[in-house]
């Protein structure tokens, strides 16, 4: 059997809205993945460090406070600097459509906004990790 996919779900910045992050974490776990949830108030540095330390293949970052433009891209940069550019980085939260092209350019492979089905997220991860 294949080894389960390892995922880090991270709450970036000062935002305390963690309902989305937690239900995604639980859904991915139910889909057979190994999920580590960071808890609140993570800096990009802490997220990148945890990703490497936990040896994950995927990082899912969540922010609903509007700070995504400042918080998401540095995670990708830091992973690259640490030689971990193979880790898939995805994001979620209240993110206006107009911000998505910039985030994708910065290396966040996909942005999942409100109303996304967890099935779509699960299959996206499976497709992009294997």
């Amino acid at each position: 059997m294949d080894k389960p996919i390892r995922v880090l779900i991270a709450k970036a910045g000062l935002d305390g809205h963690d309902r989305g992050a937690k239900v995604i974490a639980q859904s991915l776990r139910d889909a057979g993945m190994e999920v580590i949830y960071t808890g609140l108030r993570q800096t990009p540095e802490k997220i990148a460090e945890a990703a490497i330390q936990e040896d994950v293949q995927v990082v899912g970052i969540s922010s609903l406070s509007g700070a995504h433009m400042h918080l998401f891209p540095p995670v990708v940069e830091l992973l690259r600097e640490k030689g971990a550019s193979d880790i898939l980085v995805i994001g979620g939260g209240v993110i206006p459509e107009s911000d998505i092209p910039y985030l994708k350019e910065a290396g966040i492979t996909e942005i999942f906004t409100s109303g996304t089905s967890t099935k779509d997220i699960i299959s996206f991860i499976r497709e992009h990790v294997n």
Binding site: G13, L14, D15, G16, H17, D18, R19, K22, V23, A25, Q26, S27, Y37, T38, G39, L40, R41, T43, S65, G66, A67, M69, H70, L71, V94, P96, E97, S98, T113, S114, G115, S117, T118, K119
Partner: protein, 559 residues
């Protein structure tokens, strides 16, 4: 309520009706589902009859409006006298921009202010702190010092409006600034009315803007109770909030149970600190969510009043009527807003707002249709406010008090919710009270399970969300979304630099030193926070001192 004979007749008639009509209909047209239930999992029957209210006692269970146990409302005339306060939560960018939005809302007929602060302010960091990057002015207004607060209320006479402020860990600091601004306007503290949220327990459980560990946090709260009872008597010193607990995933029953359990903890802490219950309890206020399950929501507000009155009377021996009355603010459920077909949110908000009004709310915030996408635009906020005005003036629901009372269904739901809530309160008592149950992750786990179940119901299409899992359309995203000016952080940092040059450094150092000394003692902190604020010490500096003395809370990660 009914005599035995009458009930027997009804029971028999119901049996005949089932035989004669229901079974026949069911054979040809089965019902949509095998079982129906509310969001809290209370089974919903086909019809309700006097049978469901067999032990119902009008005077004991309901009483009259303004009378114990206040099921029907906290005032005798409710909206026949005065409507609820229409209070839209607002704040973004700098204090200049938010001041403009406040004046716009007041011009449109809003009757109270409600301030949203940005996350650095809520977590006690100045705008130039490294952790504030990207967050300055985003979910609310950035307040670093008294200077920002002066601008925020510029031209708004503080004795003429009531102001609600969503601030928790640094509530004492923000209240101190408000008192100081009022003083500059020549207004004495006893003329001020408004609310600070000041509810730390739900921050640990659901909202996340904690700073200090529970013990010193509770002390800050009881210091505020004590100070305001003597100096700011019309101020609501806490808004014990179920709103965020619900947003995090709780059911209606859990929302009320956990909120009232937190309420018990605050009252107990204040009593333990030596305060007289009737001195502070009349200034406790509550904050609930208005969600989608209409009748359960109406019942929820009614039952919250009934249980709180019993708790205050029986558990805390409160003597004053004012101590028994649960007064509350309501906000419609942000979590039910969809990013898809956002105009449909207007309807969701209207129904939720109506449930709050039928439940007897004292003030109301209606969400804007675009809030699943961004901060609300001026146009969207206007529709939300107009929704309240339509409910107040046009549809006749405000002409009589508690119009759904006596509905077999609503009274049964009210009773069922009461049973569920008492069970939770019992369990929490057994765990050692609310702070202990939070430490053990009990509330968090309950909420998480409900949130996950809700998600699964949507994904399995057991729950339909119009525009999300049914009736989808191809659509363009609206173009007129509000964007916070990214330069706001730079401007705040410049203002801070300027402030640090202009203020008297000796006075700042002295007041902060005093604050540190008092923090290490048991004296009331409020007077010293007010002195520091008036010396233009920043919010970050004041919270920094308290961080050093009190330490910081470490989150329990529960999943």
């Amino acid at each position: 309520m009914y005599d035995k004979k009458k009930l027997e007749d009804i029971k028999q008639a119901k049996g005949e009706w089932e035989d004669k009509f229901v079974n026949k209909t069911l054979k040809r047209f089965p019902e949509r589902k095998e079982e129906f239930e509310t969001d809290s999992g209370i089974p919903v029957n086909r019809v309700y009859t006097p049978e469901d209210l067999e032990d119902f006692d009008y005077q004991k269970d309901l009483g009259f409006p303004g009378e114990y146990p206040y099921t029907r409302g906290v005032q005798p005339t409710m909206y026949r006298g005065r409507f609820w306060t229409m209070r839209q939560y607002a704040g973004f960018g700098s204090s200049e921009e938010t001041n403009k939005r406040f004046k716009y809302l007041l011009d449109q007929g809003q009757t109270g202010l409600s301030v949203a602060f940005d996350l650095p302010t809520q977590i006690g960091y100045d705008s130039d702190h490294s952790l504030a990057r990207g967050e300055v002015g985003k979910v609310g207004v950035a307040i670093d010092s008294l200077k920002d607060m002066e601008m925020l209320f510029d031209g708004i006479p503080l004795d003429k409006v009531s102001t609600s402020m969503t601030i928790n860990s640094p509530a004492a600091v923000i209240l101190a600034m408000y008192i100081a601004v009022a003083e500059q306007q020549g207004i004495a503290p006893d003329k001020l009315s408004g609310t600070i949220q000041n509810d730390i327990l739900k921050e640990y459980v659901a909202r996340g803007t904690y700073i200090f560990p529970p013990e010193p946090s509770m002390r800050l709260i009881t210091d505020i109770f004590g100070y305001c009872a003597k100096n700011v008597p019309n101020w609501n010193t806490i808004s014990i909030s179920g709103y965020h607990i619900r947003e995090a995933g709780a059911t209606a029953a859990q929302e009320i149970a956990f909120t009232l359990a937190n309420g018990i903890a605050y009252v107990q802490a204040a009593v333990d600190a030596g305060l007289d219950v009737d001195e502070f309890a009349p200034r406790l206020s509550f904050f609930f969510n208005a969600h989608l399950n209409f009748f359960e929501e109406v019942s929820k507000f009614r039952v919250a009043r009934r249980i709180w009155a019993k708790l205050m009377k029986e558990r805390f021996n409160a003597k004053s009527d004012k101590s028994l009355k649960l007064r509350f603010h309501t906000q419609t459920a942000g979590v039910t807003l969809t990013a898809q077909q956002p105009d449909v949110n207007i309807m969701r908000v209207a129904f939720q707002a109506l449930s709050a009004v039928l439940g007897g709310t004292q003030s109301l915030h209606t969400n804007s249709k675009d809030e699943a996408l961004a901060l609300p635009s001026e146009q969207a906020v206007l529709i939300a406010l107009r929704t309240q005005q339509v409910i107040a003036h046009e549809i006749g629901v405000t002409e009589t008090v508690d119009p759904l009372a006596g509905s077999y269904y609503v009274e049964k739901l009210t009773n069922d919710l009461e049973t569920m809530v008492w069970q939770y309160i019992d369990n929490i008592d057994k765990l050692g009270g609310s702070p202990k149950s939070i430490e053990k992750g009990f509330m968090q786990k309950e909420i998480q399970e409900s949130a996950y179940q809700y998600l699964q119901q949507i994904e399995s299409e057991e729950k339909i969300v119009v525009g999300v899992n049914k009736y989808r359309m191809k659509e363009e995203m609206p173009a007129d979304l509000l964007k916070v000016d990214p330069a706001v952080m730079e401007r705040q940092c410049k203002k801070l630099e300027q402030l640090r040059k202009e203020r008297d450094p000796k006075q700042v150092a002295e007041t902060l030193q005093k604050l540190r000394d008092v923090a290490q003692s048991n004296d009331n902190l409020m007077p010293y926070i007010i002195e520091s604020v008036k010396a233009y010490a920043t919010l970050g500096e004041i919270c920094g001192i308290l961080r050093e003395v009190f330490g910081e809370y470490q989150q329990q990660v529960v999943i």
